[in-house]
Structure formats: C-alpha cells, structure tokens
C-alpha cells in the first residue's frame, strides 16, 4: 500500500503546566505558558510515520487549524517525520473559540481538495477533552471510522486492521479505506524531535491557507459562561490502623452499620 495520511495536530498548553484560570474566568491563562503538541496527536503522528517507514504509507502530511503560533507545532511535526504541513490560519485571538466541528470542516475541505486515504487524529485534545473531531469528520466525509486505536496493521485488499481498547477487552475491526482513525495512549511511544531533524524540517514545505479562503464558517456554537478552578481539596488526616479507618468512615456516613 502507499497511503497518503493526513494527521491532525493541535497546539495545546503543555501537559506538565499547572493550568491557571484567568481572573475574569473566561478561560485559562495561555500567555507566556509552555505549549506543545497534543500528546494524542503526537501518537497519531508517530503511527503515521511508522506506517511510512513500514512502506504502508507514502506520505505523511501534518494539519492544524490554529493561530500563527501553531506553526511551531507543525514544524515540530515535520521534525518528527511529517513530509509537509498545512496550516489553516486564524487570528491568535480566535484560537480559544475553535470547536471540533470547525476543525472537522476544515479537514473535510482539505481532503476534498487533495486525495488522502487516511485521516489520523488524536482520540482527544488534552485542553478541551472533547473527543469529537474524529467522529464528526467521519460523518462529514461519510467515511468509516476506527477510533481509539491501540494497534494498526495492514488488513489486506484496501483495508486496515485496527485494534481498539474497549471496556473489558480488545475489539479488532477491519476498516475500508479511506477512513478516519484516532489514536489511543498505548498505540506507540512517540519519538523525540532531534536537532538534526529540526534543522531538516526547516526546509520542508508548510502551506498556509487562510480559514476564510476555505469557505468554512467558524461561528461558535457554544458559549463559555464561566471557567473555574476545581474546588480545593481539604487536607486529609492520618489514621493509625484499619479499625480506626472504619470507625472514621462510619462517623462520616460513608460506611453503614
């Protein structure tokens, strides 16, 4: 097979950052905060690059819908093995208003223009945890989907064999191509971007398309009323032994009898 794979990558607040809510409660602080590629997208990208290394794929293209700063995420994707990148650009100030449907619509337009056999996305982004881009896109394109992939293999005759982690076991399915895939945590261990590859990535093509030229409607469908810190956990106490623990639980009414 020589598939062309489009990988969706999103610039998110780094997983190690302690997120703080803005004083006006409209969102979280992003200024001067470390950002990186959404970890599940990294996994999707890694799988696509592996598929290319296994000669299952011929080309890996990274895609993002985001502000000017998300170019860095695309360069990073190219440093990790994507051959080129497509940047659907919106003003940095609009980034927080982007919803999964907008991303799915943008990818749909790109896929309609250029032929891709697989669109690979992360199962969710760690900022909004929506998990919607993959399934929405499959719906829009009317393609089969294989979500939460933990293993991807050649299924023969234009199909992929995808293993999914589900409650209580593994679910193995065959999807006909073209298809939408989403990556789960245990699919692989993403590689590092290395300095030599970062340098090489600077020479790889990065196409910029203004969102408005794609003809998609970015009007938000949801309105954020308030973003708040989770309530502070009260300090716990130590108990000497199990009987005391049971006693305490009874006192608090967590255990009956």
């Amino acid at each position: 097979m020589s598939l062309r794979i489009l990988v969706g990558v999103k610039r998110v607040v780094d997983f190690a950052v302690k997120v703080r809510v803005k004083p006006d409660k409209t969102g979280v602080v992003t200024d001067g905060v470390q950002h990186s590629m959404n970890p599940f997208d990294e996994i999707a990208l890694e799988e696509a690059v592996k598929m290319k290394e296994k000669k299952l794929a011929s080309e890996v293209v990274a895609f993002t819908l985001g502000g000017p700063k998300s170019q860095e995420t695309l360069r990073n994707a190219m440093a990790k093995g994507a051959d080129k990148a497509i940047h659907v650009e919106i003003p940095e100030g609009d980034v927080a208003k982007v919803e999964p449907l907008h991303v799915a619509q943008a990818i749909q337009k790109v896929v309609e223009k250029e032929k891709f056999d697989v669109v690979f996305v992360g199962k969710q982004a760690i900022d909004d945890d929506a998990s919607q881009t993959g399934p929405l896109l499959a719906g829009l394109l009317d393609w089969p989907q294989a979500l939460y992939a933990s293993k991807v293999e050649d299924g023969g005759s234009g199909t992929l064999k995808v293993t999914r982690e589900i409650d209580g076991g593994l679910d193995t399915i065959k999807v006909k191509l073209p298809a939408v895939l989403s990556a789960d945590l245990r699919l692989n261990e993403p590689r590092y971007a290395t300095l030599p590859n970062i340098m090489k990535a600077k020479k790889k093509p990065l196409d910029k398309i203004a969102a408005k030229d794609l003809g998609i409607d970015l009007t938000p469908q949801t309105k954020i009323l308030e973003v708040a810190e989770p309530p502070v956990r009260k300090a716990g106490g130590f108990v000497a032994d199990v009987p005391e623990l049971v006693q305490k639980l009874k006192e608090k009414g967590f255990v009956k009898g």
Binding site: Y192, A193, P196, N197
Partner: protein, 624 residues
C-alpha cells in the same frame, strides 16, 4: 610588558619557566582577540572590552549595555523544540544516580543523546551539526547541568574543547573529514593538553612531535593525564612540542596542535580514574608511542599550538557558567521544597531570617551567573572577540557560586542533605572539579589581573612617554584626571532602569575605585606587580564582582525593557546582589591598595617555616 618582564635577566630562570606560561597565556589571548591592523604599530591597542578598559580606569560599557542577548524567532523556536526532548532524555533515559554509582555512562545512553544532536550543537549543518549559536548552546548546557554534570563534562570535553580546534582552526579538508562523525556522535573527541609535569603551566608540556625527514608526517611521543573521554574517544586534539627553525638557524621547541586518530597506532589509554565526582565522565591517561601523524593533521601553523589551546579554552569557557546555572537552579528548587515543608521550633524553616538570607543569597548568585552566561554568549554571537578576561571571570564566579549555593542547600537540608537520597551530596562532589579544571580558579584570577594590568601598563607607559616628549594635551588630561578624582568616561547610572539607579551609583563608585587601585599598584610595583599575588588575587576578586554587578544590572534593565512579568522581582534580586558585591569589591580594593605588608610578611614566614619543616611547627598544648 608583563610577558617580557618574566624573561628579564634579573629573574632566576626557575621563575622564567614558571611564569612564561601564565603571562604568555595572557599575551597570546590578548593578541588573538585584538586582531586588528594595529598589531604591528607601537601604540597600545584600543579595545571595547569592558575589562580591558576598566583596568585603565575607564568605564566603556558598549559590550555590557544593552544586554546583548538576541535570539530571532527562528532560533527561539528551534530551542523551544529541543528543550522538551532534551529534558525527557535526561529524566527518562539518562540515570544520573546510576551513572554516579557505576562510574560510567553507558554507550547506549550516549548514543541516544547523540541522536538528539547534542554532540554537534555548534557545528554548521553542512557538517551534520545542529548549527546552534552560543546562546542556544548555553541554554542546552544549562539544562544538562541541572540534571547531570558528569554528562555535561562528556559533552563539553567532546565539543567545547575536544574538537573545537578543528571547528575554529581546521582546514576545509580537516573539517570535512572529521566534523560529520564527531557532530553526530558516531565518534568522540578529547582534548589532550595536561601532562604529569604540566597542568596550569600549559606551555611547559614535554610531549614531542617531530617532523619526518620527507615532511610527510610527524612522530608523536609523550603522555597525557586526566583526559576527559580519554578512555573511549577516537579523535584527539593533542598538543606537543615541535622543533622549529629560527631565523638565526637554531631550532627552538614550540607547541603545535594535532588531530590524532586512535587508529593511527601507538595510542593507548589507562584505566578510568577513580574520582570524587563527575564519575559518569571518563577520565584517563593517554600514551602516545611513536604515533605517526600525517602532516596534514596539523591544526593551524607549526608553533601556534599554545595560542590554539588558549583560544579553544577561551571559546568554550562560557559552557561552565552555563552548566553551573543549571546546577544552581536544581539546588534552589530542592531548597524551596525543603524549607517550605520542614518544621522546627514550631515554625517552617522558611520563616527564619537566617534561612531567608541563605535563600536570597542563592537567588542572587544564580541570577548573576545566569546573567553572565547570556552576556558572554550574546556578545560572542554578535561577533565580539576580546572577551577573554570576562570569560575567565565568569568561569571563576560561576563555579564558586555554584559550590556555595549547593553547600548552603545541603546545610538547609540538615542531616538529610548529607544523605545520598537528597542528591545534593552528589551535586556537591560533581561541582568541586569546576574550580580546578579548564584553568584552576586561582590561576584564572591571576590571568584576569595580569591580562588587564598588562593592557593598562602599556597605556600607562605610553602616557609617560608622551608626557616626556612634550605631549601637553596628555599631561593636561592626566592632571585633570588626578585633580578631579578621576574620570571614568562613562557611567552605568545613565544606562540602567530607573529602579536600579542607586545600585548603578554603587557600581560606578566601585569602577572608579578599581581604576585608581590598578594605577596605584602599577606605579608602586611597576613590573614587580607580577609577583604580588596577594594584591593580584584581590584585584581579580574586585573585578569579578564589578563585572558581575554590571552584567546583572544590564540584564535586569533588559527585563524591564522587554516588560517581563518578573521585572519587579528581578530588580530586588539585582539590588540585593549589588549591595553585597559592591561591599566585597570595595573591601578587596582597599586591601589591595594597602598591601598590608605586615600581614603579607606573616603569611610568607608562617608558611615557609612549616613548609621547610615538613610538618606543623607548633607544639601541642598537651605537651606529652
């Protein structure tokens, strides 16, 4: 002036050899960096170096203000991309404690690090390097220094000195042949200067490389000790004496630099040395037994090896302050975790004034060192050449700050700090070597003072000559300088953020006092200053403090200009640092000016009596 001095006939010859190294190091570094057309003219050279000018009593601040750090968005992005993987590697692949315990960093780990591109940071991409500049490289060294100083030494011995000679002075053929393998970490390099009888006095090496009769190759013989990466490196930059024909037909031995491959034959190494710290870094002796080196493997010109060695060290010197900054950050982080948790006498440790003072001093030392690192690297990136005094000062300052910061962290940890588990004891052991290698700090202090005074002395001599020959203008300006109490010709007060004005005034006062002190000492001791180590060490200490203050104020001003959210906090750290450092500098200058003859006489005779005796002289109070 000072370099010719040591050769003057009144000095015993033992002095000659002892001093030639240091003073000619000063001279050759000075020459190499003041590479302008004036070299042949008799007039002393003009330079924009802050240090050089300060020794002449002038405040030339062009290379200090504005803060020279200047990374474009592309370079920042590259750095941003590599920081994550580097930290991940250091946390997940490299195991610092294990490296320390086993006294080895496994080759697979080094290979992984090589894949990241960490061994070819400064090498241009056409030779398979990453093409980073010094500021980017400094940040990388800082991160490595925070996690594993042993790995930092492997990295530094490889690229900051090991193959730096090829990068700086190599021919196109040499670069093409060696750099790709070295930058990619397929091969490792080592820098071979030190010998059993030649450490600080590097010019006195005894290894020899004699050219074959047909001129096709050199034959190298000699032994090197304490060579980092010596046990596994494949490519060596080796310094050896080559006999060189003089104009009068006689031959004289001069140091030359060579690229030696292990595969040339006759290269053997000893077992890994057992060390106090940086145990993961391999240190070994090397023996060269009739090693045939192709003539084309000479680096630079015959006889220029000493200059090559000094400039390699000079060029890579900012790497140590960078690693020290990282190590201090680690110690500070550990300290914060501890003093905010530990309760004694019913209070958290952080509530005690003495603890707060230790923490504040740690922060000041770290801030000043970090400021020095990116000052040096930024200046180097913008093409500044005459930074040898500044780099030496930063090396001394950084390695001593890191030592004290780690020591204080251990103190605040109490008994826990003494335990392996705290990791601080390892850092302390690792840090000790940084005050010794790449120029022992005591010797670096002399280098700072002597290089600066040599420059100042030349100008002083020139002034005297001009006045003698009727230079009225010179005479007048000297008179006004003396009557008016000196004229710095520049002031940091005009350049700093308004919040730092008082601190800048303190700095200006120190700079004024510094120029006066140097002039007084030169007039008093003339050429004899070279043997006044008591004064020289204190002048160096004052300079180091002054430079650190100037750099700190410049960096803090930069933070205000760029509206960093921490600017106000930084002002406090900078003001605190200047408070302490200006006091130290003034007191060092006072002592240097005074000379304290009685004290110096005591030092000399007490030391001599015991050294001659071969043991303590005093009787024990329990005289049994």
């Amino acid at each position: 002036m000072l370099s010719t001095l040591c050769k003057s006939s009144i000095r015993p010859s033992i002095y000659r050899t002892r001093w030639e190294g240091l003073s000619s190091a000063a001279a050759s570094a000075a020459k190499a960096t003041q590479n302008n057309a004036q070299e042949t003219s008799k007039k002393p050279q003009e330079t924009k170096s802050f240090a050089m000018n300060l020794f002449r009593g002038k405040a030339v601040l062009d290379q200090v203000f504005p803060y020279p750090l200047n990374l474009d968005s592309d370079r920042k992005e590259t750095l941003q991309m590599i920081i994550g993987p580097t930290e991940k590697f250091l946390q997940e692949v490299n195991n610092t404690d294990k490296n320390d315990e086993r006294a080895e960093i496994p080759r697979e780990v080094l290979n992984k690090f090589a894949e990241l591109g960490a061994f070819g940071a400064l090498v241009p991409p056409e030779y398979e390097g990453a093409g980073l500049n010094n500021s980017q490289m400094a940040k990388l060294a800082e991160i490595v220094g925070a996690y594993d100083l042993g790995l930092g030494v492997v990295m530094g011995a490889h690229q900051s000195i090991g193959y730096k000679g090829i990068l700086l002075y190599g021919s196109e053929e040499q670069k093409k042949k060696y750099l790709p393998d070295l930058a990619s970490g397929r091969k490792f390099a080592a820098f071979c200067l030190t010998e059993p009888s030649s450490g600080s006095d590097a010019n006195s090496i005894r290894s020899t490389a004699v050219k074959s009769a047909d001129g096709s190759h050199y034959v190298l013989n000699g032994g090197k000790i304490f060579i980092s990466n010596g046990g596994f490196a494949d490519v060596f930059t080796v310094f050896a004496q080559t006999p060189i024909k003089q104009a009068d037909g006689s031959t004289k031995n001069k140091v030359s630099a060579f690229i030696v491959e292990r595969g040339f034959g006759g290269v053997t190494n000893g077992p890994p040395e057992k060390k106090m710290g940086i145990k993961g870094s391999n240190t070994a002796t090397l023996n060269f037994d009739n090693v045939k080196i192709p003539a084309s493997n000479l680096i630079g010109q015959e006889g220029e090896g000493f200059k090559v060695a000094m400039n390699i060290l000079n060029n890579g010197r900012f790497g140590i302050p960078a690693a020290m900054t990282g190590a201090m950050k680690f110690c500070i982080q550990k300290t914060i975790e501890h003093v905010t948790q530990r309760t004694q006498f019913g209070k958290k440790l952080e509530e005690f004034g003495d603890v707060q003072e230790k923490v504040a001093m740690m922060l000041a030392r770290h801030y000043a060192t970090e400021s020095l690192v990116y000052m040096l690297a930024g200046n180097m990136d913008s093409g500044v050449m005459d930074y040898q005094i500044e780099a030496a000062a930063a090396k001394v300052f950084a390695s001593e700050c890191a030592w004290t910061v780690c020591d204080d962290a251990i103190q605040l940890y109490g008994g826990m700090g003494f335990m392996r588990e705290s990791q601080l004891e390892r850092v302390l052991r690792d840090l000790r070597i940084f005050r010794i290698f790449e120029g022992a700090n005591d010797v670096m202090r002399l280098f700072v003072s002597l290089t600066g005074m040599q420059h100042a002395g030349k100008h002083l001599a020139q002034v005297a000559k001009e006045i003698k020959s009727g230079g009225i203008a010179t005479l007048l300006s000297e008179l006004t300088k003396r009557v008016g109490g000196g004229n710095l010709g520049g002031s940091s007060s005009e350049l700093v953020d308004p919040s730092l004005k008082d601190a800048a005034a303190k700095l200006d006062a120190c700079m004024m006092e510094f120029g006066k002190t140097v002039e007084k000492l030169l007039i008093k001791h003339k050429k004899g200053i070279i043997d006044r180590q008591y004064e020289l060490a204190r002048v160096a200490n004052a300079f180091i403090n002054i430079y650190a203050m100037a750099v700190t104020l410049s960096r803090c001003t930069y933070s205000h200009k760029h509206k960093l959210s921490s600017a106000e906090h930084e002002t406090k750290i900078a003001n605190y640092f200047v408070e302490i450092a200006s006091r130290d500098a003034m007191s060092a200058l006072k002592v240097a000016q005074n000379g304290h003859d009685a004290e110096q006489a005591l030092i000399g005779s007490v030391a001599k009596e015991v050294l001659d005796n071969g043991g303590l002289v005093q009787k024990h109070p329990i005289d049994v």
